[in-house]
């Protein structure tokens, strides 16, 4: 059961362009939505995260847009640079006082972003 669906699988953008990656989730109990960035041969690293009480969060060139009613969130990379070329993962987790889902991150399938110079 894939609870977080991510698209596109791959994305090619020219330097200076806008990269947009979309995710949709099913579980309405999710309350934390991070994006991770992974370079080849490295572990994923947190890029930016949002909680569902806000519709947008911006950090530098990276922005998360969140649509709670549609159960969708997206990552926008403005002025994309060749150094942004990496695999991006959306993820989600939720509090579950009675269960075993504490901190459990459910990841999307990943998007390979290539930014051409």
């Amino acid at each position: 059961q894939q609870q977080v669906k991510q698209s596109p699988q791959s994305l090619i953008v020219q330097k200076g362009g806008i990269s947009i990656i979309n995710c949709a989730y099913e579980n309405t109990a999710f309350d934390y939505f991070p994006w991770y960035q992974q370079f080849p041969g490295k572990g994923p690293a947190l890029l930016i995260a949002i909680r569902p009480d806000v519709s947008e969060k911006k950090e530098g060139r990276f922005t998360i847009s969140f649509n709670k009613s549609a159960k969708q969130f997206s990552l926008h990379i403005m002025d994309s640079q060749p150094g942004d070329s990496a695999t991006y993962f959306c993820a989600a987790s939720h509090r579950n006082a009675g269960g075993t889902s504490y901190g459990k991150l459910t990841f999307g399938q990943g998007t390979i972003l290539t930014v051409h110079p």
Partner: protein
């Protein structure tokens, strides 16, 4: 000053062997995790420990056994290795076990089973 470290980085072994991967974090975190990343780069949690106590145990074959000697270490032992176990295994840690705590990932161990 590596935050989350794993050894070895590469592991090549024959089917049927038993192997271990070690993980250490120097962040003072209480919670540690093991993730498996398959050939399609899909990341899936396997286990989570909080203060040496098993918190999350996903549907993982019992050939996989995590061990946490202290809260800074979480090792993964795999018995009777199979071809399908070939993947990159990531250790991660977070300050606490709750949703919203940033997870810091190690560099990964690429396991190849021949």
């Amino acid at each position: 000053d590596t935050a989350v470290s794993q050894t070895p980085k590469y592991l090549v072994t024959q089917m049927g062997n038993d192997k271990s991967i070690k993980c250490e974090q120097n962040l003072g975190h209480d919670t540690m995790y093991w993730y498996k990343q398959d050939s399609k780069k899909f990341l899936k949690i396997m286990f989570s420990y909080n203060n040496k106590e098993l918190i999350i145990n996903e549907t993982v074959p019992n050939r996989f056994s995590p061990k946490s000697p202290d809260k800074a270490h979480l090792n993964l032992h795999i018995n009777s290795l199979e071809l399908g176990d070939s993947a990159v295994y990531f250790c991660a840690s977070s300050q606490a076990q709750f949703s919203g705590n940033t997870q810091y990932f190690g560099p990964g161990t690429r396991l190849t089973v021949l």
